[in-house]
């Protein structure tokens, strides 16, 4: 138990870094994922094909493989990162954006057809239909699943900790090595800080879901 209090500075630092990784990757993934979803429903066949292939491949690729590639294979090929955090952010946002694209696409499909028809009948083009009419409504309904994806992102950032990035999990491994006699408490502390992020987010998702349910 004392270990947790003793190493509180490390925990706090790791906590902030995990938050930073998740927040930056989350924002990038939200933008890229929405663009991918837009490409998926666009009139241009090549965009549709690209988006579909990207989502299909990335969703079925384990994140560990992406990190293994960035951390072990790329340096062998002469590509090294000054800061491995950047590689971690690229891998995490590339991975998460595929899931966000799927969620947003299901939201687009849930918007009543009449909305798009009305927009087109007053002369809007595809870009206008999507950005002014469909996406604002679609994004609203997919907020709970999007929050769940962001929770998964927070948890996935622990994989970055396993490969050189010092965040919550990385510090946890280090502390577990230093305090061989109190490994259990060290890891309980790490778990606590993860739950500090994921449980409130889960609660938020639940609340938003209920609110959307009432609004309907």
């Amino acid at each position: 138990m004392d270990v947790i209090i003793e190493s509180l500075p490390q925990y706090w630092d790791g906590f902030l870094r995990t938050l930073f990784l998740a927040a930056v990757s989350g924002i990038i993934a939200l933008v890229v994922g929405t663009l991918l979803a837009a490409a998926r429903v666009s009139p241009v066949a090549a965009l549709r094909g690209f988006s579909m292939a990207y989502v299909e491949v990335v969703r079925n690729t384990p994140l560990t493989i992406a990190f293994f590639f960035a951390a072990v294979v790329l340096p062998r090929l002469g590509v090294t990162f000054q800061q491995f955090e950047i590689a971690a952010i690229i891998a995490l946002s590339a991975y998460t954006s595929a899931f966000i694209a799927e969620a947003v696409r299901s939201g687009v499909n849930s918007v009543p057809i009449g909305q798009a028809e009305a927009a087109r009948s007053i002369g809007m083009k595809f870009g206008q239909v999507l950005s002014l009419i469909i996406l604002p409504q679609a994004l609203r309904t997919v907020v709970p699943p999007l929050i769940n994806i962001l929770i998964a992102l927070v948890k996935n950032s622990s994989v970055a900790g396993a490969f050189f990035v010092l965040e919550l999990f990385g510090y946890g491994k280090q502390l577990a090595n230093d305090h061989g006699d109190a490994v259990m408490w060290v890891l309980v502390g790490v778990a606590f800080f993860y739950l500090l992020i994921t449980v409130p987010l889960g609660y938020l998702a639940h609340q938003v879901e209920r609110k959307v349910a009432i609004a309907r």
């Binding site: 690729t61 072990v72 087109r120 259990m184 993860y194 994921t198």
Partner: protein, 279 residues
Amino acid sequence: MTSVLYDVPGPKARRVSLIGSVIGIVLIAALLAWAIMTLAQQGIFQAQRWAIFGQADVWTLLANGITATLSAAAIAAVIAFPLGLLLCLMRISDVAWIRVPTRIVLEFLRGMPVVLMMLFVLLVFATSSFIAVVAGLVLYNAAIFAEIIRAGIQSLPRGQREAGLAIGLTSFQSRLSIELPQAVRRMLPSLVAQLVVLLKDTSLGYIVAYGELLRAVQVMADFLGPQFLFPVFFVAAAIYIAINLAVSRLAIWIERRGSKKAAGGVAKAPTAGVSTIVK
């Protein structure tokens, strides 16, 4: 739905779309060519680097890795599913002192990274890495299975439970023989999709030094020499993705089949829309 978003393209729009497509394909091709050129400069495509795949030993090692990955996933799935059913029944129990602690445990398990659970089991219980991987996967996925099945039970028409109680079944009997079978069937696509997640998560075994496919790649590279890292990694990653794609396809196939056959249809994954209809 897609075609609703834009007018049927006329000759001009089609031309613009075609030009856009061509530019996009050229860009992607250029990117690929650049990547291949860069790799070629590193000597990746020298025949002797890929000649190792002619050796039986390499395939034996890869096969060992695949076996380790699949066996961990299979054992974890087989344990996690009944455990998930049990947790689900406890989570919706009428008895508060069963329901509330289960809820807390489920929240706890769902909120933690799988790799942290694996590390915890490995270090605290000093087990083999295989048991650590399986335990981590079982704990996490049982919690997810429980939540999926719970969503399925909640999506059933209320009359199902009422009818069960009306013919004199106890609450538990009604759950077990009326609601669960329908819920599991409805949620089959989500459950199989979760299997893909489980399969992907076995790769976390690499971090706790379990000898799965990725670890096999590293062992081979250490043994054969670093110049073989890329070819071996490339093949292993392709195998991994191929297996996952196959299971994903299976999930989609079940969903299509189920929506045709099952009486109540198959419920979609628990998104905002579905659970709102339920209430």
